[in-house]
């Protein structure tokens, strides 16, 4: 318990550092969002409007330190400012819309990729030199070596454009009403097949190879031999003895991947015009939407920290040696 609190404390500290960096970094860059917005209207705004804009975006002449504390207070209240690109929507709301789709898209992809890759790794190691082991790891590694955007575009071209099996973009079609009804859910699933599928195919190999190699070395350990000699059913030897021990390094990787889900699906979302976080980030950069960028970075950072905290908890549960060393 004390360990968990200690970890929590560490993550809070890390979050504070991240928030601080997040505040200072954009302020080191030249230009400001009000000027950018002002320029957008190509001189159609009066100079007084400029001052009003500056005020809206919180650009004051106050000392940096005061600004910093104001910022901290706002972040704490969940007020991340107002988006420039989606003016006048508040950043939190804009991110919220994108976040749902990204969490759904990338989350599904990472979980499927991890589960399928790990199970294939277990299979390949258990029947070493068998059919699965001979063909699947090299194929997965080969596919994983292609640039992701290229794979995604080929998939989009072949299955979306040429064969027309799947839609070309967006999260759902204009013809369905969002809500908890079958048509909407089916349509969302249909739109998700290509983006999720390409991410799974591109990242599967990593999980597979990690798991296979760890598993092969664990299978050579005496405790696995002992489990076999004890006359345990093969399933139990493979899963309870070998796979569970081999899983520990993968779990750490899984946590990292979960954290990067929020920022990492950028390419997928651009290729498939998916209205998620990555797509928003590109919009934010294009329109110099600092509040939105800052907000997205903040969410990504917090997500990575949160995922790591969860991994700490899971490892604690999986590995008694960690439990021991911390109590």
């Amino acid at each position: 318990m004390r360990y968990i609190l200690k970890r929590l404390g560490f993550y809070l500290l890390a979050a504070w550092v991240a928030v601080t960096l997040n505040f200072f970094l954009p302020r080191l860059m030249p230009g400001d969002p009000a000027t950018a917005l002002f320029a957008r209207f190509r001189g159609m705004l009066a100079p007084e409007a400029m001052d009003a804009l500056r005020e809206t975006f919180g650009l004051t002449e106050a000392p940096l330190l005061i600004q910093y504390f104001t910022y901290l207070g706002h972040v704490f209240k969940g007020d991340l400012g107002i988006s420039v690109a989606y003016f006048p929507a508040p950043v939190l709301q804009v991110i919220g819309n994108g976040l749902v789709w990204t969490v759904f898209l990338a989350g599904t992809a990472v979980v499927i990729s991890f589960v399928v890759g790990t199970l294939l790794g277990v299979t390949a190691a258990w029947w070493r030199f068998g059919k699965v082991d001979t063909f699947v790891p090299p194929t997965a590694a080969l596919i994983g070596a292609f640039p992701y955007f290229w794979l995604a575009m080929v998939a989009l071209y072949v299955f979306g454009f040429k064969l027309g099996w799947f839609p070309l973009g967006h999260a759902y079609g204009d013809y369905v009403t969002p809500g908890f009804n079958f048509e909407f859910i089916a349509d969302v699933a249909r739109h998700a097949v290509l983006p999720v599928g390409t991410v799974v195919i591109a990242t599967l190999g990593g999980w597979l190879l990690t798991m296979r190699n760890t598993m092969v070395s664990v299978l050579g350990r005496d405790y696995v031999n002992l489990a076999r000699a004890k006359g345990l059913p093969p399933r139990q030897v493979a899963l309870r003895y070998a796979a569970r021990n081999a899983l520990l390094p993968s779990v750490t990787g899984f946590g990292m991947a979960l954290g990067f889900v929020l920022g990492g699906s950028l390419l997928t979302e651009i290729v498939f015009s998916y209205p998620g976080q990555g797509y928003l980030l590109v919009q934010a950069v294009r329109s110099q939407d600092y509040p939105l960028m800052q907000g997205i970075f903040l969410v990504i950072t917090l997500a990575v920290l949160g995922a790591n905290f969860i991994v700490d908890l899971v490892s604690l549960w999986l590995d008694p040696r960690i439990r021991e060393s911390v109590s």
Partner: protein
């Protein structure tokens, strides 16, 4: 009249390597009798551990059993199907592994590693299994509070005791001890060996005791088999082997250990290097290191020669 429980006939085990097969056990014939302690000694790489794993058929690839048979109570272990084999394992033959550090699963508690064995072989409830696990710890002198401990929380000696408790879980008729005390200090080693001896008398299982510590083995065993370079050099009653070894290699091994008696001879080592299995010497594999080698030794492999009841040596001089 001793009654054989395991009969090993012409057993061959090969390791498949890039340079071709390497024979780790070469046409081994050996009998284990009911309730005895059979010691197996030999240098590293002479095939001791390979034999232990072959008996349970848990040899990891690239090791392959290439011939012979292993009769357990008359049934050939090598031709059993998976399910038969699974039921034979542990119920009939169990094993204590060499390394106390690595033989326990680091993420499963002691009780978990005992009860899974019980549940794999017997229909019993979880509480029943736990109670039986507690009794097994009593047998090896570990307090029951340790049931929920993990391997890293136990000392080396305790881990090896847990290994013995697991080995006794199904009351097998044969327990293989593969260098069970190598990683332990002499005091703990002595305690553990004594405990095994007591348990063996109590339950009447046979023990196959593998070690490179010949002096210790001669104290503990009823009969001793000496391996050299994948072959059986000599086998016989422990007392007889100590008093009158007939294979020069056995003799060399006996002289290599210091004696505690005053005025005893100084230990002498066997000259030369252990034989390479990749390219073994012709004829008798021990001839390049043998002080008493004669003309025939490099030319012809010595067959087993019976010297006395149960005493066999593979040496041209023993005839």
């Amino acid at each position: 009249m001793p009654e054989p429980i395991i009969e090993i006939r012409d057993l061959c085990v090969d390791y498949v390597t890039d340079e071709g097969p390497v024979r780790a056990i070469d046409r081994l014939n050996l009998v284990v009798e009911r309730g005895e302690v059979l010691g197996i000694a030999g240098e590293s790489g002479s095939g001791k551990t390979t034999l232990a794993k072959a008996l349970l058929r848990i040899l990891p690839p690239p090791a392959v059993i290439t011939g012979g048979e292993v009769l357990f109570k008359g049934r050939d272990i090598l031709s059993m199907d998976d399910e038969e084999l699974r039921r034979m394992r542990w119920r009939e033959i169990s094993m204590v592994f060499q390394s106390a550090m690595d033989a326990l699963n680091p993420v499963i508690s002691v009780v978990g590693q005992i009860t899974d064995t019980l549940l794999a072989h017997d229909e019993c409830s979880a509480e029943e299994a736990r109670a039986r696990a507690g009794k097994l710890l009593d047998l090896v002198g570990i307090p029951r509070e340790r049931l929920d401990s993990f391997a890293h929380q136990l000392s080396g000696g305790m881990r090896q005791r847990v290994g013995i408790a697991i080995a006794l879980a199904m009351r097998p008729s044969v327990v293989i001890l593969d260098e069970p005390t190598t990683a332990l200090d002499v005091i703990v080693e002595r305690e553990i060996l004594e405990r095994i001896r007591e348990l063996q008398r109590e339950f009447g299982f046979a023990v196959i005791f593998i070690t490179h510590d010949l002096a210790r083995m001669l104290q503990v065993s009823d009969r001793v088999a000496i391996f050299y370079a994948a072959r059986l050099a000599e086998v016989g009653p422990a007392a007889e082997l100590r008093r009158a070894p007939r294979h020069p290699y056995t003799e060399g091994l006996l002289q290599a250990f210091p004696s505690v008696h005053p005025g005893a001879r100084t230990p002498r080592s066997i000259p030369g290097q252990p034989a390479s299995l990749l390219n073994p010497p012709s004829g008798c594999r021990f001839h390049p290191r043998c002080a008493r080698a004669i003309e025939i030794c490099p030319k012809e492999e010595p067959g087993p020669t019976e010297i006395g009841p149960g005493h066999v040596a593979a040496c041209h001089l023993a005839k």
